[in-house]
Amino acid sequence: MNIAVKSPFEEKKANKLQSTRIAGKLVNDYWEMVWRAKEEGKLVCWYEGSAINPFLEAADICWVHGEAYSAMLAARHQEGTAQRVAEERGYMRELCSYARTHLGCAVSNQRLRGDNAGATPDEDDLTWKLPPPDMIISAYAYCSTGQQWDEMTSRVFGKKIPIFNVSLPWIWGSKPDAGYLRGQEWEETSTYVERQLFDMVKFIEERTGKPYPWDRLYSMMADIRRASELRLEAMELCTAQPAPASFFDWVVSIAPINNLPVAGVKDYFETVLTEVKQRVKDGEGAVPDEKYRLFFDGIMNWNKVGWLANKFAKWDAAVVAGRYTHMAFWQEPSLIDPNAPVRGMAQNYLICPNNHAAPILIDLIMGLCRKFKVDGMVIHASRTCRAFTNPQFMIADTAHKQLGIPTSMFEGDVTDESFYKDELLNSRVEAMLEAIEHRRMVHAA
């Protein structure tokens, strides 16, 4: 295993968006709210994957997003205990590390608060702190791990927690009319998921014992639609050279669009958009000296967000777009009708960055690469996230053939740092940048 060591190129750092600092505060406030939920007498729902949180928030249910908790632990470098607890119970290291970390939290929670309680929790250890669920909703696009993770969570809690499954089929897209957001398969699948979401609302009503407050949901979805538009507008401005914000800024902005309380989200993205516009006006880039523009394929390495942002900055490489950030998270706001949002919500859940089969997915990625005028692609082969790694060789091959750009792969993981190989990343990206340089010289000659 390679150990990530201090970078010898400390002088250049990423010029992060100042406004993303607000995201840090919003994230902290959100988790504080979650940790207080039981004291405040709130029902708690655990879920992973799709952003069903507005359904829950509108019903005054505290929502706990599994990946978000694992990512938060990793970003704070506090994931180790949860992963160790999971391993002790028999969950193997090759399992999705999001799930492994979160299941470690569930096991820890059960040991400290559950039927066999008796141990004394360490107040500084966030592993056990999640409030136990009163319900579980599983709504996971593409990856089988999500549904199995939720099922195992239910079993860790002794199958005493009611669980509701929403099935989100993969869009295979083999018919002549198939494509992104179109075709019979798309419409039928949207209807199937929409129907299940209405049933999910009935499940929520059974838990709360109250009629579902649809008006609150409509209002929240109007805000989310607007926040999404602002986010996409800000992202679009990164076609400018130098790019005013990077993939890493958008990574930091995932929590606000994906799982934070709706009330602050519109303001957050208004602030971000204002700063991005100002940067474009001032010619200020996300890296001090933008020389290369790269696309990032793969999920984030949550232990390494700042580390990677600075690493690419020191290479004068602006990572201008990515599959994870630019193809998900209320990605199609125009589909959301605030007065009848459920179908549009279903459709946005079906647009996770992996839930379209490779031909459609790869077309979208190539489109982003063209739009953002990238010189190369860096591909994060996340060891335990096969949902993201599935099409990566095909993506790399298509990038070579269609765009004529070089690609570079490195191994890492979502929340298990031990899979990250720093030296591989260094040597491969440096080689790719040299290749880009060489091509430029050839073209100039």
Binding site: S138, S144, M152, A357, A381, R383, N390
Partner: protein, 385 residues
């Protein structure tokens, strides 16, 4: 026909299913449809006039397939992609996919991109098994699959043909279940490799031909008396999409073990459940899909009201098994998720078990043998105590 000849016929098809398919195709002039494990019903393709064949992991090392899937995928998916890239699947006229496992989805995409001249049919089966809409959604899936097959075959798949296929497949399953029962009682001393040949060949051979041979095999044992057993009686569990390597099974049995039951996919899981023979055949297939998960629960599905661990303990009581060996294919996520449940339940029930992680490429059988021998001694010691 002698027992050995029958088993040899099964073994030949099981060892080289694609050659069997080529010969069958040359003989009959009919299409061959490969399907991915573990839930797509061969009955549908059979009723459409094709040879349904569950695609098998190859023994060959992964070579060119490394260019499409990472090495941290299960051996089955990597082998599927590798065989596709190498051109081994040229004999197939179509491939059916429909499962939920994320690694299989990766393989589906890669194979479609490679085999541009092969019809690749996909319709995703619901994997949440106890929802109010599971039966209905399963029916929709199978109806769409039927329509795809009709389009592929250029002819309607009639209900009568489906009923006939269902009856034939049920008969085949029933005969293999009889062999399982005979093995459990000591009447049919079939080794686990031989039993694998029986089941695996059923997945790939012409069903009528296979059934005819099965009937002869069952007749051989019909009047046999139970043999005295001195070995430790064990249950084999796990290994879903791919068959465990025969050399691993042989090694286990060489350690003084008699395998008296299993829930392997290339074993009892495959033949556990029949399709209803009356009524709408599509509804029957959906019923079968749901029933088999309550019959032999599978960790690739989610069903909060059934427990695989409880099933295993019950099955072992019935088999009078004294311990269990879990065979887990490396990187098999559903199995990795569920294993802690099994582990805890077995510890609670004071039932010994041994976990063996298997790999596509070579395994260190000698060191595994030491572990199995030690496990067998532990089981013997417990029985003696």
């Amino acid at each position: 026909m002698e027992r050995t000849q029958i088993i040899d016929s099964f073994a030949a098809a099981a060892r080289d299913p694609l050659s069997y398919a080529k010969q069958w195709k040359a003989r009959t002039g009919r299409p061959v449809i490969g399907s991915f494990p573990m839930n797509f019903p061969g009955e549908l393709a059979h009723a459409a006039g094709a040879l349904p064949m569950i695609l098998q992991e190859s023994d060959d090392p992964i070579t060119v397939g490394h260019g499409l899937l990472f090495p941290f995928y299960c051996g089955y998916t990597r082998s599927m992609v590798d065989q596709a890239v190498r051109g081994d699947f040229d004999v197939l006229d179509a491939i059916m996919f429909g499962d939920h496992c994320v690694q299989l989805l990766g393989a589906a995409d890669a194979i479609r991109m490679q085999l541009t001249n092969t019809r690749v049919i996909f319709f995703q089966l619901i994997s949440s098994m106890c929802d109010p809409w599971t039966q209905g959604r399963s029916e929709e899936s199978f109806a769409k699959l039927r329509a795809e097959l009709e389009d592929f075959a250029g002819a309607k798949v009639q209900d009568e043909a489906m009923h006939a296929s269902i009856r034939l497949f049920n008969k085949n399953r029933g005969l293999i279940r009889r062999l399982y029962d005979m093995r459990k009682k000591g009447i049919a001393p079939l080794g686990s490799v031989e039993m694998q040949h029986v089941v695996k060949s059923s997945m790939v051979m012409d069903k009528a031909e296979h059934t005819e041979l099965l009937e002869k095999l069952v007749r051989i044992y019909d009047s046999a008396a139970p043999l005295p057993a001195r070995n430790v009686r064990l249950h084999l569990s796990g290994h879903f999409c791919q068959a465990p390597k025969p050399e691993l099974l042989e090694m286990i049995e060489q350690c003084g073990v008699t395998v008296v039951g299993d829930d392997l996919y290339h074993g009892f899981r495959y033949i556990s459940t029949d399709v209803p023979e009356q009524g709408d055949p599509i509804a029957g297939l959906a019923r079968w899909y749901m029933d088999r998960n309550t019959g032999v629960p599978c960790p690739t599905r989610v069903q909060n009201n059934v427990d695989w661990d409880a099933y295993l303990l019950n099955a072992m009581r019935d088999e009078k098994a004294e311990g269990m060996i879990v065979l887990m294919a490396k990187f098999c996520e559903p199995h990795m998720y569920y294993y802690p449940e099994v582990k805890e339940a077995f510890e609670k029930a004071d039932m010994p078990h041994l976990l063996i992680e298997t790999e596509h490429d070579g395994m260190a059988l000698e060191s595994l043998k030491t572990r199995v021998e030690t496990f067998v001694e532990i089981v013997k010691h417990r029985q003696a105590a």
